[in-house]
């Protein structure tokens, strides 16, 4: 039975504007197995599962379900064919009960709701798969782990034979994760099939029967879990033998002359859960410290706490020995912290405003640009014109709205503004993401140039190549902790890949 092929996807290509998310993916799923899809962010895991569940239509390639070709045009089609997805972001109606959520949209539900019978059926189903959840509880009262069980119940209730779980443990406590793994086993024991999307090596090794690794939208390979190890998986995941050259620096970094000192920092994410656990880190004068890690492991929170946009729950941030007031962006700016946020058009700039207004956003309080609370327009314009020239921003005029500029030029405006305040430290979060090759080069040059000038740079990036070519030291973040700090000349991709996947250093020895 286990050798029957449940799903076979072949030559799957999916293009989005500017990016090929799936570039000829091969994927084969045997009935009754837990099959892990492993890969970094942007490797094409989510795109592939969205194709399988009918959310996207592939540009090329074929999908076979139980040997017969299928083509889904909506998630409903896929669900009717027995393929259900448990999303990372739950699709639940918070004010409804668990049972109501489970039966919602099910074509088999009778017109008149028999609440007692529905509750009973949901309860039975939950018990069968070893899931503890009260059918009458309102969803908003439930923990995240319980809400995930409701999502799984929804898909099971619809009779799905193939379940896709997208990073299911990202939101779970270790105990909840163990319970989930038991549930998955109970499902495969009944002949159901599970696709388990993850980038965590440990849990992939623990839960799966086979593993398919994706990288850059292509299938690297499919292996039996029993005949592989974390080290091999890590190198499949991040790739090896990639040529890269370290950038030549004019002025060497002075790691001992600390400009940014982060001590035992803790912080919450947007949902109020702990996202940072005692992060300690230093950046020296003229040093570029790279933060490597899979997105969502606390990098954004770290950047925001340092930039004063988020409160620290524990610990402190100090610049040149002076402790910054936590949660005060203005204190951070005054202390010499410059910040290039991930979301440049929303957090970094006022997209609808002109280039010159945006360039003045951090310095309008100075007497140069305002007097008695009134802006000095001419001075702003002159300052903006000078910056536009110096940073080579391609814009029709300084009065053009920022959102009309290309991505590279938007980033140049942002960098120009941040550098213009004379900072001591720059926090750059994914500064080259989404830019074209030329713009990437120019942004990287600016960062190196600034570091040569003595600026301490904290470079947060998911692009390992970028970090390895620019950084002097590399800190790896995993689940809100710095798990290792490695000098860049001693770092290799495999080790960093393992650390990013949550393996401890002993696995690398």
């Amino acid at each position: 039975m286990t050798n029957t092929i449940a799903v076979h996807m072949s030559g799957v290509v999916k293009r989005f504007p500017g990016v090929v998310a799936n570039d000829g993916v091969e994927f084969e799923l045997r009935r009754g197995e837990v099959h892990a899809l492993l890969g970094e962010n942007g490797a094409g895991k989510s795109t592939l599962s969205n194709i399988l569940t009918g959310l996207y239509r592939p540009d090329e390639g074929t999908i076979e379900l139980n040997g017969a070709p299928v083509s889904f045009s909506s998630p409903r089609d896929a669900l009717n064919a027995g393929i259900g997805m448990v999303h990372q972001h739950f699709r639940l109606v918070e004010t409804f009960s668990v049972a109501e959520n489970v039966v919602l949209g099910n074509p088999d539900t009778a017109f008149l709701l028999d609440t007692a019978a529905i509750n009973e059926r949901v309860k039975e189903l939950a018990a069968r798969y070893d899931m503890a959840v009260d059918p009458e509880a309102r969803v908003w009262q439930l923990s995240v782990g319980e809400q995930q069980r409701v999502e799984i119940l929804k898909v099971l209730y619809r009779g799905a034979q193939v379940l896709i779980l997208d990073e299911p443990t990202a939101v779970l406590t270790p105990i909840e994760a163990d319970a989930l793994f038991r549930t998955l086993r109970a499902m495969t024991a009944e002949g159901r099939t599970v696709i388990f999307i993850s980038h965590k090596l440990d849990e992939v090794m623990a839960v799966s029967d086979r593993i398919t690794v994706l990288r850059g939208g292509r299938t690297v390979g499919t292996v039996d879990t029993s005949s592989t190890n974390k080290r091999d998986l890590a190198s499949m995941m991040v790739g090896r033998n990639v040529e890269f050259t370290r950038v030549q620096r004019k002025t060497p970094a002075q790691a001992n002359d600390v400009v940014l000192h982060v001590e035992n920092l803790g912080g919450h994410d947007d949902r109020g859960r702990d996202a940072l656990h005692g992060v300690t880190l230093t950046v020296g004068r003229g040093e570029i410290v790279g933060i490597a890690g899979v997105a969502g492991n606390g990098q954004r929170e770290l950047a925001e706490v340092i930039a004063g946009m988020r409160h620290a729950t524990t610990g402190s941030v100090s610049v040149e020995g002076k402790v910054l007031q936590s949660g005060k962006a203005r204190a951070a700016i005054a202390g010499g912290v410059a910040h290039v946020p991930e979301d440049r058009l929303h957090t970094g700039l006022a997209a609808g405003h002109s280039v010159e207004d945006n360039l003045a956003l951090k310095s309008y309080r100075s007497s140069l640009l305002s007097r008695f609370g009134l802006l000095r327009r001419q001075a702003m314009r002159d300052g903006a014109t000078a910056l536009v020239e110096r940073y080579d921003v391609k814009t029709p005029s300084t009065q053009t709205a920022v959102r009309l500029l290309s991505g590279g030029n938007v980033q140049k405006v942002l960098l120009a503004r941040e550098f213009s305040t004379g900072p001591k430290v720059l926090i750059a979060a994914s500064p080259t993401r989404g830019l074209d090759v030329g713009a990437i080069e120019s942004v990287r040059e600016r960062l190196v140039e600034a570091a040569d000038g003595g600026l301490g740079v904290l470079l947060i990036s998911e692009d390992l190549d970028e970090i390895m070519s620019l950084a002097d030291r590399i800190a790896v973040m995993y689940e809100g902790r710095i798990v290792a700090v490695i000098p860049a000349d001693k770092a290799d991709r495999e080790t960093i890949g393992l650390l990013m996947g949550g393996s401890q250093l002993e696995a690398t020895s």
Partner: protein, 319 residues
């Protein structure tokens, strides 16, 4: 007929509360689907003028005329709501702006008055109004007579409608799906429920009920057409939806409370109490403002159970 003042006030509260109840029930359906409808006043006026016109032009028995007038008022209100649904659901316009423009477009100085002018509706009084019934001949029973057995057919229909609406919303699959669309359209869409269909259907249903409410003014309360006949009842209805926590049964209570406030002026004047008429006429609106201020804080909204996606156009997440 020597009823106490209290009974008279209660009976007229039901009478004046009936159009509010229809319009507010419509609002419950529309808002439960996640569409905010500030065009109720306009829809009521369109219903009112169409009903009055139909009553003057449809022949046959008196009952048939009344029936046809109500039907035409419903149709006209529904048609106006179709425009609102198109703006809000298909074009994903700002729902507040769309609703306001419908009230301005169709309202007292707009389309309803234009129709009244062109059709010469105001020239004659409505000759076949909706009359109060004498149910089982019990209308003259003390106390219970005026309260239960001496109302128009629409009042009785509204009572049935409240029960049916409650059942529909909370005991049927369609009601469950409607509430899901208003609470979390993303979830509903993922579960294969058509957000667009549910929003269109219930917005139009809301407009039809508002149309009946408007016709109640031109066919029962005033029995003739004057421009801006409903005098802001649509706004009271919108407040009532919130006041009733988006539930039909509580909406009924609210509608009669506001009906009492509305009728107070007329009733007290008839009994030669001397209180400023203007002040009494303003009472329902003062109450509306108070209710809306009380419940409009974010905190209250959450606690009161407003549909979470109310007023938010739904767009599928696309990469």
């Amino acid at each position: 007929m020597n009823n106490s003042l209290l009974i008279v006030i209660l009976a007229s509260a039901i009478f004046y509360g009936t159009p509010l109840l229809f319009a507010a029930l419509g609002g419950v359906f529309t808002e439960r689907s996640g569409v905010l409808n500030l065009g109720v006043e306009g829809m009521m006026l369109i219903g009112g003028v169409s009903g009055a016109w139909a009553s003057q032009h449809v022949g046959g028995s008196a009952w048939f005329t009344v029936f046809a007038s109500i039907l035409i008022a419903m149709f006209a209100g529904g048609l106006t709501a179709l425009l609102h649904a198109f703006l809000c659901v298909t074009l994903k316009a700002n729902q507040t702006v769309a609703g306001l423009s419908i009230t301005i477009f169709a309202g007292a100085l707009g389309l309803s008055s234009y129709f009244a002018n062109v059709w010469k509706v105001a020239a004659h009084p409505v000759t076949r109004p909706i009359r109060k019934l004498d149910v089982f001949g019990l209308a003259d029973t003390p106390v219970l007579g005026p309260l239960l057995f001496n109302h128009t057919i629409l009042t009785y229909v509204s009572w049935v409608l409240v029960a049916v609406s409650s059942f529909y919303l909370f005991r049927t699959k369609t009601g469950l799906q409607l509430r899901a669309v208003g609470e979390s359209p993303q979830t509903a869409d993922a579960m294969g429920i058509s957000v667009v269909k549910y929003r269109y259907f219930h917005t139009i249903l809301g407009g039809m009920l508002a149309g009946i409410g408007g016709a109640f003014y031109s066919l029962a309360i005033v029995s003739t057409w004057v421009d801006g006949l409903t005098k802001g009842a649509g706004w009271i209805a919108i407040a009532l939806v919130i006041f009733g926590f988006w539930r039909p049964d509580l909406t009924l209570v609210g509608a009669y409370l506001f009906g009492a406030l509305q009728s107070l002026g007329t009733t007290l004047k008839a009994r030669s109490f001397h209180i400023s008429g203007d002040l009494l006429d303003a009472l329902p609106f003062i109450m509306t403002i108070v209710v809306l201020v009380l419940v409009s804080s974010r905190f209250a909204h959450k606690r009161l159970g407003a549909p979470a996606a109310l007023g938010v156009p739904y767009e599928r997440e696309e990469r």
